[in-house]
Amino acid sequence: MSIHETPAAADAHGEKAVQRQSVYVYEAPVRIWHWVNAFAILTLALTGYFIGSPLPSAPGEASANFLMGYIRFIHFAAGQVLVVFLILRVYWAFVGNTHARQIFYVPFWSVHFWKEWLHEVLWYTFLARQPTKYVGHNPLARSTMFLLFTLPLSFMVSTGFALYSEGAGRDSWEYALFGWMFSIWPNSQDIHSHHHLGMWVVLVFTMVHIYVAVRDDIMSRQSIISSMISGVQLFKDGEG
């Protein structure tokens, strides 16, 4: 990875430009995935909520209405989109740069990782004065990503396809791939409940994710939000 140092040039008034280091962190496929995924999740959560608690009844003949059908169609379509992009994302974890791999595992046995993780916890509980600079995710962010996003999302995909197989039938590929869910919970009512709870887990993650992204953008020493658009992470000062 290369760090481009911008020379501190002085303008006509003798004022120096701010010195920034920039690193290309999030490659295009990762950025595209991030936003498609975000919109897919938003769509899925909204439609999913209305599948669990449907809107007030539509008047008229059944043949003239298809509201629940459309809501479910959008839910399924968004789910398929999410999965297609998730597959691309997993592929990119193999062929992309190191940052593309971060959210898929936690270096659990690395003492160094947990030391830095602890420092991040101290920083977020206001006990450390200065955050450490990180290219990509900091250790705490990485473990949270894995625990509150990667795992729940995999769970949502598995339960989602298992539930879809109920309608698609016992001969469908959805049942062949995800029917094992019914071995864990023989009553699909439980899978419905867990899928529903999973939505709230993802929602809680989203809240924390957005808050921390905004906060870090302001407080820490690197850019966060713009990086997911441009891919470039800027560092605000030269100190280590």
Binding site: S53, F126, R170, Q189, L197, Y211
Partner: protein, 360 residues
């Protein structure tokens, strides 16, 4: 008990005509989804094969399976199957009693080693060495294991035998346990339902006794031919679900018009059974048709999933009456509060640090 007796011999002796017999084969083949050729195969098997003895045992149960069984839509089905069974053993409906009845078990176990079918209605309680259910002078769990040793296969009748049903609902004081957790070394076919549909029961017995093997079962051990589709997917009210037309209250306009009972807690979307296809009492009706949601009686733990009238399942782990939305909203509220507090502290800290910097 004649050893080389066939089904055909039995029913002819009971005065059933050949015409009725052929009809029975056609109807049963159709209900099993096997097509016209199978009817002939079935007739031939019943005429030539030595009949398979069936031993019907009762553990902790309410006899609703038996009640359902003897009300089978096609009386012939009941007569045929029932007469075959009563010849051997069913302590509820057979004529023999006491030691004479128990002697039949010994005899069958010896004579038809590895050839008889053990049909179990209800389940054994395991606590206190099974003392909560004594059958023929000994714990039912012992009798069950003893008879299962030499059986060809075991049929678990109803939700009791398949999943545990009401006697195993929390806190399950007698530790009532489904058959497949007690009998581990025999093929077990689950026929859940409280009770199962009569035609399903006769269909399963006929299939096994005719072809001498178990029908294909799904992941949960239920016969695929009867349990691969949800009530919801074959429900005649399904168009109202897709249209978004629901019964909102028991006596509203939607209820009168026969709208979908989803919001009233119908468990059709999570219940695998044939009620919406075959219906009950000879195709007269089924719960949803009479205006009440499905309670999911053929599903695992249906007693422990909150009321029958809520769409979202009650989650007991949290100690209070809650469902996924209530739990989720509470969690989101707590996290939201934490975020707000954290943001406030962050802002204060930032101001103080700036001041410190300005001072120094």
């Amino acid at each position: 008990m004649a050893t080389a007796e066939t089904f055909y011999d039995v029913i002819r002796r009971q005065g059933i005509t050949r015409r009725s017999f052929t009809k029975f084969c056609s109807v049963t083949a159709a209900s099993l989804g096997l097509g016209p050729a199978a009817a002939t195969a079935m007739a031939e098997a019943l005429e030539t094969k030595e009949r398979v003895p069936v031993i019907w045992m009762h553990g902790l149960e309410c006899t609703c399976c038996s009640e359902s069984f003897i009300r089978s839509a096609n009386p012939l089905v009941k007569d045929v199957v029932l007469s075959m069974i009563s010849l051997d053993y069913d302590d509820t409906i057979m004529a023999a009693a006491g030691h004479r009845a128990e002697a039949i078990l010994e005899e069958t176990k010896e004579k038809y080693k590895g050839k008889y079918i053990l049909a179990v209605e209800g389940n054994p309680p395991l606590k206190e060495d099974g003392m909560f259910c004594i059958d023929g002078g000994r714990p039912f769990v012992e009798k069950l294991k003893w008879m299962a040793e030499d059986a060809m296969a075991v049929i678990a009748w109803g939700t009791c035998a398949s999943w545990g049903c009401v006697q195993s609902a929390k806190p399950n004081p007698t530790q009532a346990t489904p058959i497949d957790k007690v009998v581990l070394d025999k093929p077990i076919i689950k026929v859940p339902g409280c009770p199962p549909t009569a035609e399903v029961m006769t269909g399963v017995v006929t299939f096994i006794t005719t072809f001498g093997k178990l029908p294909d079962v799904d992941r949960q051990g239920r016969p695929k031919m009867f349990y691969s589709q949800r009530i919801h997917d074959k429900c005649y009210r399904r168009p109202h679900f897709d249209a978004g037309q629901f019964v909102e209250e028991w006596d509203d306009d939607g209820a009168r018009k026969g709208h979908c009972l989803y919001k009233m807690g119908c468990k059709g979307p999570t219940t695998y059974n044939v009620c919406s296809i075959m219906r009950w009492n000879g195709g007269v009706s089924f719960p949803i048709q009479s205006g009440h949601g499905c309670i999911g009686c053929s599903e695992d733990g249906f007693w422990d999933n909150g009321t029958f009238y809520d769409r979202l399942t009650t989650i007991h782990q949290f100690g209070i009456e809650a469902n996924a939305d209530k739990v989720g909203m509470a969690a989101a509220g707590v996290v939201g509060g934490a975020i707000a507090a954290h943001a406030a502290v962050t802002a204060v800290k930032r101001v103080t640090i700036k001041r410190e910097k300005a001072d120094s």
